[in-house]
Amino acid sequence: MPVIEKVAWDYAGAEDIAYRFPNLSLKYGSQVIVKENQWAVFFRDGKAYDVFGPGRHTITSNNIPLLTAALKALRIIGDIFDCEVVFVSNSQFRANFGGTAYSAPSGDIKYQAELGFFGYMLYKVEDPKLFVVEFFGNRGASSSRDVENYIRGFINERIINEFGNHDIFTVVKNVDATTDKVTLKISDEAARVGLKVIDCVFEGVKIPEEARRFASGMGAQAMMMQYMKETATELKGSEGGGAAAAGLGAGMGLTMPYMMAQQMQQAQAGQPQQLIICQSCGAKNPVGTKFCGNCGASLAPQAKVVCPKCKAENPAGTKFCGNCGTPLAQPAASEITCPKCNAKNPAGTKFCGNCGEKLS
């Protein structure tokens, strides 16, 4: 085996997280060059002796006292010794992840949306010795892809768990907090193999169309109907179903209109109702009623009198303008009295609003 004068990891690729120089024969005085973004871990006889940081290291007893001591203890007093050097990159790497999760149950039917997610995580090696011993050494791994495959499971598990805590109304709002939680939660998992998680980023969360409709409230009722229909079908088809299941299905069918009506009422109750205030007694009446439910006065819009001075509109019958105080002239024949029933009708009406008599 040739004696190596200089060891350096010069051709590190973008995805290479570590590289093993197998069975090197170094001599005292050999140079190990470690770049600023690298570490070099020295192995001999399967033991990790030393970690070299950036710089030019000369293999002497000053640099690797443990190794020298071991060699001396074994009485190997030669200038040459065999060892393994594993270079580890200190740069940031990216691990992609993606999968499917379910949101927390929400709404009356406890709807759980199937959510797709994808993104990436940034990480780097924090403890090179631990990384080499725990991860690299046993797995024969060498690229960031291997680390990615290892980490992906942890990330997906944490995301699925985190999404399960939010219903679809809040899941998108909490994406930032979710990624932070995932980052922090998997940091301990990653630290087990000497890695540090720098950040976790969601590039997208896919929410199915039906979940969007459910979240917006528009399709909630339609989904409720669909859900009940499906449940009834499933029960019919299930074992031991028969008449009981059919009965249940029928029961559900009967209760459906009631439930829908109840939902509609609830929806209406939630909305502010529009009212008309009676000009005569001040009672509140729903929009659309023609006469006051309290005093029977007509709820038809009153005639207006325009102020000749300021042009403000005032209700018919007022003597002074509510805006400028100018006296308002009353219409000469504002009302017509029915000759038959003596009921008063607004000027211009052709038939009596009370008895239908033709008004002259």
Partner: protein
Amino acid sequence: MAEKETIEKVKDKQGILAKIQNVFGLGYATKEDLRELDKKLRDLYYSDFKTLRHRWEELYLAALNAGKATDDFKKVIQIMDRIAEKVHHADYGYAGLMDRKGHIRETELARVFNYDKALSADVETIVNAVNELHKDSEAENWTDAAAKAKNIKSLILTFESKWDEREKQFRSLEV
């Protein structure tokens, strides 16, 4: 002078081989010792920041779970990472490289080392502030958490601006 004291202390601890190297290498061994000493000090700071980050991770997760996390909590982690790497990969102060004019001698290296050493007070202040907030988080006391996180952020940023001044210590502007 403080630099002289530092150089003397380093020289006192040198062995015979280093002394010979100093004679033939015009003080090379002392310069190398000063650089290595400074590197060791920076490694200690880096280690402190690593520990702080792990502590902050726990704290941040607790704040998220309690719904008390503010933007400053994430900012602190990001700034902490940035500064830790700045400290870890800071200039060694090698002599006369590239377009630097003249040599970086023992005095400059000792000045940089003293400057870095003085920053230990700032590191300690940050460590204490984080520890205090960590204790609060363990006691579920989130009353002043937002204000404390903001304060920690500003402490770290102050440290960073001081660290950025470090480069000037290699070649003082005093004439």
